[in-house]
Amino acid sequence: MTVPTVFVVDDEDGFRGSLSRLFRSAGLAVSDFASAEEFLAAFDPDTPGCLVLDLAMPEVNGIELQRVLHEELDCEIPIIFLTGHAEVPDGVAALKEGALDFLTKPVEPDVLLGAVRLALERDAECRKERDVLRMLRQLYETLTPREREVMAHVVTGQLSKQIARDLGTAEKTIRIHRGQVMKKMQADSVATLVRMADKLGI
């Protein structure tokens, strides 16, 4: 697995350098960019990490980059905004769009490092969640249409007899489908299956 990386995007060379150095000194992998375009050209959404983003930049600013990442790339990398002076409406917009934090320069290095560490943890958790979900989807894909129907009924707590009546078939057939569902979904109990269905949004 790739090392989590702190991506720094800031148009101010000196300040960007100081951020990189700070993160490197804390033992983190850093990759820095002078503009949103540079970052987008090099960025691979599959790389774990977080983004430390300057709000006020020429051409594409921080908020716009956030929007591109969310809406066009469907990427949920955690974002920490840095700004020269607190533009409150921009801050609200950024947080509404799901920014993790909004820090005003000059920012205490410890606070910044704390925010970055939290962001990396959050990213790792999200990625784990996403991996689990992806696996569940793959398992669900293997079910036949009939098995999916049966599963939908099972997770509402219905007994095989009731399901058989609802679907207009024999209880025995339902039992077989039910066994197949539990096996394919790798669920050890109905309770587990219910949680899986919940995650899959069934």
């Binding site: 101010e12 000196g14 300040f15 350098g17 100081s18 951020l19 150095r21 700070l22 490197r24 000194s25 804390a26 006020a56 020429p58 051409e59 020269g84 002076h85 533009e87 409150v88 409406p89 921009d90 005003t104 320069k105 000059p106 920012v107 205490e108 290095p109 410890d110 910044l112």
Partner: protein
């Protein structure tokens, strides 16, 4: 001239003359002291008062004339002050109130002048071709006065026509003023002037043709309106120093408040400008400490961090130094300034910010522009503010398109500074509103920068305005300031 014994009529005439001479003297004194816009008014009123006083003197002498020849030459002489009076009245109205039709005034003057020339060529004035009777009559109060009669000049009606045209001009301008909505002071003055002229005209005609038996009293008819006009002008003059004092106090207050608000605007700029290097220094110091704590310490990284710290510290010093240079003038208020020099300082001050924003600056300074008079700090702040606005307006432009130009030019009425940007421009409906307090299009704007700038520019006797740039791109901001020796623009 040998006068009859004093009676109340002579006494009254003497008093009227004295009052009119006083009014004339006061207005001449004020004209000398105040100058400027009120100069014309005071001089015209003084001329008017002198003419009416002269008329009064001749009226006094006419009432005391002893022979037909004497009366005739006095009546001729009377046309000098009356002549001036009738010639000047339309121009008083014109200069004081900007009302009336100048061509009508010209026509009245022309006809009246013809009558005056004719008057000089006649032995018994333009009124009588001969004086056949000279009598002493008694007025209501029992005063005696000289009264004459004789065949009239057929051409005397030309003179009456001239006065009548003048009267027409006055009433016409009164109607104009009424329509214009200036119904109070100017109306009263003009109407009274017309009434005096009308009464004077019809009474004199009556006396001339023998229909009214009475001494002439044109000067009396004019006394009231003269006193009215003089009162207005003198009250004005008396109030002026008080008002000037009040304005000066208010200007001082505005200057003080503006200073404060400009300082706070600039402080936001400084804070923003300094937060960058200070933040950087903090990060580098923290990083250096961490690298030192490693086992073994990574001295190469520590060294790099220290070099970077020094670099950012220098940058911070530049920022602080720039502001200090502009602020060092401190409380010094008014001095002669070369605007090109002020612009140089302002650009130096904004340099860091402009570089950071990637804005390219071109200057177009006119050579040998005259000095302006003003407060160095306030003017610098105004220009700094304009430069910052221009730079900010281009933040969404492509880097190659962020060009700001600032220039000076000599104008008739002063020195003009132009700050142009290539930003999105200002919509026509906002072009006046941008100078209103609290009007802003920026999330972090106080909306005070341009409002305060306008107040400050006007306090310097100047003007500030904006227009779309060439080909409708961007915005040109103009500041016009009077030269150090000139008048407000």
């Amino acid at each position: 001239m040998d006068l009859y014994p004093i009676n109340w009529l002579t006494f009254l005439q003497g008093m009227v003359i004295a009052v009119l001479l006083t009014i004339a003297a006061m207005n001449l004194l004020l004209a000398g002291r105040r100058g400027g816009r009120s100069l014309h008014g005071h001089v015209l009123v003084a001329v008017l008062a002198l003419a009416v006083a002269g008329t009064g003197v001749v009226e006094l002498l006419l009432a005391n004339a002893r022979s037909a020849d004497q009366y005739g030459s006095l009546l001729k002489a009377a046309h000098v002050p009356i002549g001036i009076l009738v010639l000047v009245i339309p121009w008083v109205v014109w200069f004081l109130f900007r009302a009336g039709r100048p061509w009508l005034a010209g026509l009245a003057n022309l006809v009246w002048s013809a009558a005056l020339v004719f008057n000089l060529s006649q032995p018994y004035s333009r009124v009588y071709s001969e004086i056949t009777r000279v009598e002493r009559l008694t007025t209501i109060g029992g005063s005696e006065y000289t009264w004459v009669a004789g065949p009239g000049q057929p051409a005397r009606w030309v003179g009456y026509a001239g006065v009548f045209l003048t009267l027409l001009f006055v009433f016409d301008s009164a109607i104009m003023l009424w329509r214009r909505g200036e119904r109070r002071r100017s109306m009263i003055v003009v109407m009274c002037l017309g009434a005096s002229l009308g009464i004077g005209l019809f009474h004199s005609v009556g006396v001339d043709i023998g229909a009214i038996q009475s001494p002439y009293f044109i000067s009396l008819a004019f006394l009231i309106v003269m006193a009215g006009i003089a009162y207005e002008l003198i009250v004005d003059a008396a109030r002026a120093p008080v008002l000037e004092q009040r304005v000066r106090v208010q200007e001082a207050e505005v200057a003080h408040l503006s200073r404060q608000s400009m300082f706070s605007e600039m402080s936001v700029g400084i804070a923003h400008e300094l937060s960058q290097p200070i933040s950087g220094i903090l990060n580098n110091a923290q990083a250096a400490l961490s690298f030192l704590d490693r086992d073994p310490p990574e001295l190469g990284e520590v060294r790099e961090a220290l070099v970077e710290i020094a670099e950012q510290d220098r940058h911070a010093s530049d920022v602080v130094g720039g502001f200090a240079r502009v602020l060092k003038a401190g409380e010094r208020q008014s001095e002669r300034l070369d605007l090109n020099e002020v612009i140089g300082e302002v650009l130096e001050l904004a340099r860091v910010d402009l570089e950071r924003r990637g804005v390219e600056v071109t200057t177009d300074a006119a050579e040998a522009i005259p000095d302006v008079r003003g407060d160095r700090v306030l003017l610098s702040m105004i220009l700094f503010n304009l430069v910052r606005n221009a730079a900010e307006a281009m933040s969404a432009n492509k880097t190659a398109d962020r060009r700001l130009s600032i220039g000076t030019a000599r104008r008739d009425r002063g020195v003009e500074v132009t700050v142009s940007d290539l930003g999105p421009g200002i919509p026509a409906e906002d072009r006046e509103r941008i100078f209103d307090p609290f009007f802003t299009t920026r999330a972090d704007g106080s909306g005070l920068g341009l409002a305060v700038s306008r107040t400050l520019v006007e306090m310097h006797g100047g003007k500030i305005w904006c227009s779309p740039g060439p080909e409708g791109r961007g915005t040109d901001m103009y500041v016009l300031l009077p030269t150090a020796d000139g008048r407000p623009v």
